[in-house]
Subunit: 108 residues, 2 copies
Amino acid sequence: MIVDHLTPPYYAVIFTTIMKDNIVGYAQTALRMEELAKQQKGYLGIESSRSEIGITVSYWQTLDDIVAWKNNVEHTEARNLGREKWYQKYQLRICRVEREYGFEKSLK
Amino acid sequence: MIVDHLTPPYYAVIFTTIMKDNIVGYAQTALRMEELAKQQKGYLGIESSRSEIGITVSYWQTLDDIVAWKNNVEHTEARNLGREKWYQKYQLRICRVEREYGFEKSLK
């Protein structure tokens, strides 16, 4: 799903990952984290894609909202599990969205 | 490939896409655009993934570098072709990367 209803400025967390070969338990935890993120203050939306690498971008109202989500206890446990079991490598970037443009093909 | 050698602040363009069913010619143009982007002033790297949606994030030194790439003639032609033939929908966000964290599992 593409998130297309937001107005800058707001914040984005770009999370780029390379997984290990054995990722037993990952899908269930990832779904739970997405569900939990949606309940957090300041959550605006999420976009996710996976092929050779995975890219997940979550959107937030403020930097404080991102810090609060980072410090969520269940999220912290899942992150520790991810580092221990599932992720070969990741990069996480916190960004301020300054401009935004959308395009949608008309259906006719 | 994950881009992991950068130091904030710098800029990211998050380009999220839904393609049409028929994308003849797209792969060749996308590869050419990636090659051309790498030759532009201020280009820092690119990360790309495609499953249900596509997410491509390109990284740039300054906002001016992003505007110059947007105005590149060959890029403009490819973008027009994309709107006409390949993209059902897209969202493009220009962001300032403010913080960054990396993780890599040791091989032992």
